[in-house]
């Protein structure tokens, strides 16, 4: 018996992914993770099948754990220079 996540649970997962994405020290990985989360949620927003929704939600939770681990790993190899995209324009 699979149970589809509630709307609040889905939004909470999305928020957690964005919060985790924000912690990456490297601009490119930070932005990629944010984009990847937003794209995946948009792509799956119209899923009707309960099993498909539950599977996508479980996948998202798994990827959140991956992202959390990678934040730690990447923090050990933080880039020494900032990306040009992060610099404030005069």
């Amino acid at each position: 018996m699979v149970v589809a996540p509630t709307r609040a649970e889905a939004l909470s997962l999305f928020r957690s992914l964005l919060r985790t994405a924000r912690q990456f020290s490297d601009y490119n990985i930070r932005e990629y993770t944010r984009r990847r989360a937003a794209d995946a949620f948009r792509e799956n927003r119209a899923l009707g099948d309960v099993a498909a929704v539950a599977a996508a939600f479980a996948d998202g939770k798994k990827l959140l754990e991956v992202a959390k681990r990678q934040v730690v790993v990447y923090s050990l190899y933080a880039p020494k220079a900032k990306s040009i995209m992060e610099m404030k324009l005069q």
């Binding site: 609040a8 939004l11 909470s12 928020r15 964005l18 919060r19 924000r22 937003a38 949620f41 948009r42």
Partner: protein, 132 residues
Amino acid sequence: MAAAAALRPAILRRIRLSPSPAAAAGAAAASQPNALARWLARPMSSHDAHLTRDEVVDRLLDVLKCHPKVDPSKVSPEAHFEKDLGLDSLDTVEVVMAIEEEFKLEIPDQEADKIDSLPLAIEYVANHPMAA
């Protein structure tokens, strides 16, 4: 004994230890005449740069206008994210995250779920003691 007890507060009242920040400021004042004035003029609260409501409104409008899915001409202080700006629930989550970043806040999920319009966002940020 009674005399010593009477003497004690009198002596304590006379003794003055200069606190070190004042001494440092005094030393700095010798080289820079304005330093002492600046040190004396600084506010005593750590929240010296508390935001005014106008500033909050301005910065929130900027955050909204910079969001890629928002039409800048539709942004007003009364706008509702979904009804007026045409955002969906996922966009709203992203907008609230952008607001968090702008004001260096951490908005808990339960609060963030409630923020669905600019008036509510303004209210939340303006009343938040840590907003910077």
